[in-house]
């Protein structure tokens, strides 16, 4: 498989993963691009990694974590800035109430381990064993995290507890 084909295949899932982690499309694109650019450099210098998907998702997870930490440190400044920000218009309010915003808000309220687990599997479409390896946990621990994450998300979104799709 060529590098271009790998990039095209990984990009959508990676973008979903970073958007779910960060909640902002622009920042999510930046982080996803950095992770894919790291893969390009790795590929050109040392050849393809053993698992390209694990490589980019691990980098994106680390960078997203740093981004969230940085944002948390800046919370006081943002609060001050928002005091002087203009009142959001009707369009912005409508967007804020949209289903996507509700999903992002519900994801944001999840504990980090659960958020990462559900996003790797559901949004990033990583297999259970791959996600467990990426998170450094056992497959059974991942199963528990996924179960809790789905339950909490369903509650937050006001949905019935998710039912497994029949194979």
């Amino acid at each position: 498989m060529t590098l271009d084909a790998i990039l095209a295949e990984l990009a959508p899932g990676l973008l979903r993963f970073t958007l779910g982690l960060l909640g902002e499309r622009a920042v999510a694109e930046e982080v996803a691009q950095d992770a894919l650019a790291a893969l390009v450099v790795r590929w050109q210098r040392h050849g393809p990694p053993e698992n390209a998907a694990a490589f980019v998702f691990a980098i994106a997870r680390r960078r997203a974590g740093r981004e969230r930490l940085k944002r948390r440190l800046l919370v006081p400044l943002v609060l001050v800035a928002n005091r002087f920000a203009p009142v959001p218009g009707p369009e912005a309010l409508a967007v804020g109430r949209s289903q996507v915003a509700a999903t992002l808000a519900a994801l944001d309220r999840l504990p980090r381990p659960e958020r990462e687990a559900i996003l790797l599997v559901a949004a990033g479409e990583r297999s259970g064993s791959e996600a467990a390896t990426l998170l450094g946990i056992s497959p059974s621990a991942l199963k528990m995290r996924l179960h809790r994450a789905r339950r909490r998300l369903s509650e937050a979104l006001g949905e019935a507890v998710p039912v497994k799709r029949s194979p």
């Binding site: 271009d4 990039l7 095209a8 990009a11 959508p12 990676l14 973008l15 979903r16 958007l19 779910g20 499309r25 920042v27 694109e29 930046e30 982080v31 996803a32 691009q33 950095d34 894919l36 650019a37 893969l39 390009v40 450099v41 960078r63 981004e67 940085k70 289903q99 996507v100 999903t103 992002l104 994801l107 559900i118 996003l119 599997v121 559901a122 949004a123 479409e125 297999s127 259970g128 064993s129 996600a131 497959p139 991942l142 199963k143 996924l146 789905r150 998300l153 369903s154 979104l157 949905e159 998710p162 039912v163 497994k164 799709r165 194979p167």
Partner: protein
């Protein structure tokens, strides 16, 4: 382990990027363009280094030069010289009270 649920599908649909976004990210990664994120991180790092380093630079005390003075008597004069620098003439060795008033600075390197 991760049998897909309706919730998973909803999550994927809500987070779905536009084709333009996918193309933009792939093109950016392929071109090796540094993202704004990276540039911002570098700016942050520079700002932190500056914030930490500037006080250290300002607080650093200036180096003191070691001064070696040579004091000799020449008649009723006390001759104070510093190698390669000013020569200082102190007058009236017999009357120390006058000495500070009669200091003469001679140009660098000069000796009487």
């Amino acid at each position: 382990m991760n049998d897909e649920t309706d919730l998973d599908r909803r999550l994927r649909a809500d987070l779905e990027p536009t084709p333009e976004a996918v193309a933009r990210v792939v093109a950016g990664a392929r071109a090796g363009r540094p993202s704004r994120h990276l540039a911002a991180s570098l700016a942050w790092a520079a700002a932190v280094l500056l914030a930490l380093g500037l006080p250290l630079l300002l607080l650093e005390s200036p180096r003191r030069e070691t001064a070696t003075l040579n004091i000799t008597n020449s008649g009723d004069l006390v001759l104070v010289t510093r190698a390669g620098h000013h020569a200082i003439l102190g007058g009236a060795a017999a009357d120390p009270a006058r000495a500070p008033q009669s200091l003469v600075l001679v140009r660098p390197g000069a000796t009487p």
